[in-house]
Symmetry: C2
Subunit: 301 residues, 2 copies
Amino acid sequence: VARQLKVVRENKQSLPGVKIPQEIVISSSFEQIVSGKDLIVIAVPSHVARSVGKKVNRFEGLDNIILVSVTKGIENRTLLRISQVLLETINWLDEAKLAVLSGPSHAEEVSRKIPTAVVVASRNHKTAELVQKVFMSPEFRVYTSDDVIGVELGGSLKNIIAIAAGICDGAGFGDNTKAALQPRGLAEIVRLGVKMGANPLTFAGLSGMGDLIVTCMSQYSRNRYVGEQIGKGRKLEEVLNEMVMVAEGVRTTRSAHQLSKKYGVEMPITGEVYKILFQGKDPKAAVYDLMSRDAKPESWG
Amino acid sequence: VARQLKVVRENKQSLPGVKIPQEIVISSSFEQIVSGKDLIVIAVPSHVARSVGKKVNRFEGLDNIILVSVTKGIENRTLLRISQVLLETINWLDEAKLAVLSGPSHAEEVSRKIPTAVVVASRNHKTAELVQKVFMSPEFRVYTSDDVIGVELGGSLKNIIAIAAGICDGAGFGDNTKAALQPRGLAEIVRLGVKMGANPLTFAGLSGMGDLIVTCMSQYSRNRYVGEQIGKGRKLEEVLNEMVMVAEGVRTTRSAHQLSKKYGVEMPITGEVYKILFQGKDPKAAVYDLMSRDAKPESWG
C-alpha cells in the first residue's frame, strides 16, 4: 500500500479524489516513521493497537516524544481503552506524554477543508495545548480537555449507537426514531463512562454528543452503514467481508456488552445491538422491545 | 379550512397523504372544541397563543380540565414561555392542571406510526402521568418530567440551532460542521436555560438533545429549511412568504437574543443567526467567525 501511495499520491479505496500533499512522507518502515520525531499520531484499528504498540516500544531515545492516539475502540478480552493498551505496551510512554484526539471529523470532509471541531485530551494540560497548537487551523478547531477516559469512551461507544441508528434506517424507521435513540444511547454511554471514571459533562461535548450525531447521521459513517445492511436483513459476516475499512462498532459492542455486566450498568441499546449482531435477533423486534419498556420518568445518568 | 377538512379528511398542504380518522371531530367553533372535554391540547403557532388563550378563558366550568401545550416558541416582547402566556390569559388554569409535551416528533412520521418518543412535563406529577397514559401507544412512547421550563425551552430554542444547521447545509458546509454546531448549540441553550430555572439534565434528553438532532437533520424540519435557503443567499422575507407553515425559530431568535442580554448569557450561535437573519450578515462569514473564536478548553454550561 505504501509503495502504491508514494506513486499515486491518492488512497483510491479509502479517500478517493484527495491528493496527498508532497510534504507528507509515506513509509512502511517503523524506523523511518518513529525516529527523530517530536510527535507521533497512532491511527490504527483497535485490534492491532497492541501489536503496533509493541513495535513502537522497540525504539530507544523517544523520551520526549508526544504520542497522540486517534484510535476508537475498546480492546476485546482485556476491555482496555486504546490509550491504556499503548501505556501497557510502550515502556517509555507515560500519561503526561500521551494525548487522545476525537470528535466529529470524517476524513472525507476534513481532507476537503470543511469546517470541523475536535477535542484533544491529556492528563497533562501542556501536552493537550501543544497538540492543539499543532493541529489548529481556520478550518480545524481543536478544544482541549483533561478527561482522557471520557473522550476515549465517547469516541468508542458512540459506534454502537451508530449501528443501532443504521438498523433503524435499514428497517425503515424514521428520523423521530433515530432522534429518540441518540439521547437514550448517550445516556447509557454516560452511565458506563461515569463508572469507569469519566467526567459526565465530557459526553455532552464534541467527542460525545457531537461525534455520536455525525456517526448516526452521516453517509460517511461505516458503523451506521453496517447497521443499515443488518436492518435490511443481511448477515453480519457477509457485510463485513465486503468492506475495505474497519467498522469498529462491531468489536466495541462485544467489549461494551461485557463492560456493562462488569460494572453493573443498564445498557439496553447496547444489549439489543449485541443480540442482533451476535445472536440473530430480528432488528424490528429489537426496536419495538426498546420502545415497549416500562413507561417511566425520563432520567439521565 | 375546517369545512374543507371535514369533507376531504386530509390536510393536503401540511400533511398530504394522511387520512384523518373518523373518530376525530373537526370544528372551528371554540364552544364545540372546549366544552365538556377532560383534556385539551393547544397546538397553535406561538404568536397566536395569547389570543387563543383569551378565547379559551371565556368558557366557564372548566375547573377540572387538563391543558396540554405543544407550542414551541417564546413570545416576542414579553419573552414569556407559551405555558406562561396561557397561565396569564386563562383565569381558571393553574400549574397543576397544565402540561407541556415536546420531543423529536415530526408529524409526517407520527401520523404514519413510525416509532417516536417524547416527554410530557408538569409541575404536578399526576397530571404528567395522566397525559402519559392518554398518549402512550406501542409506536408513541411518552416519558414524564417535572421540568416544565426545561422541556419548553429545549423545544423552543433548538429551532435557532436548526436554522444555523440549515445555513451550514445551504452554504455548502458538511456533516462535521453540523455535528460540531449541535453540542455547542445545546451548550448555549443549557446556559440560558439554567439561568431561567431549568434543570440542565433535561436538555440532555429527548426534548433537548433529541429534538435538537431531529430538527437539525430532518428533511421535515421547517426551521432547517429556512436556514438552508438563507445559506444559499436568499432573503428571509422571500423565504417566509412562500412557506405555508410557521418556522418558529425566526421569532424565537429575536426572543432568545433579548433573553441572552437580559440574563447576561453568552450565546454565540444565536448571536450569529440573529445577525444573519435580521442584520444581513453573510452566512459563510458567520460560520468562520464562530470557528475562529479564541482556542480554549471545551466547557459545558
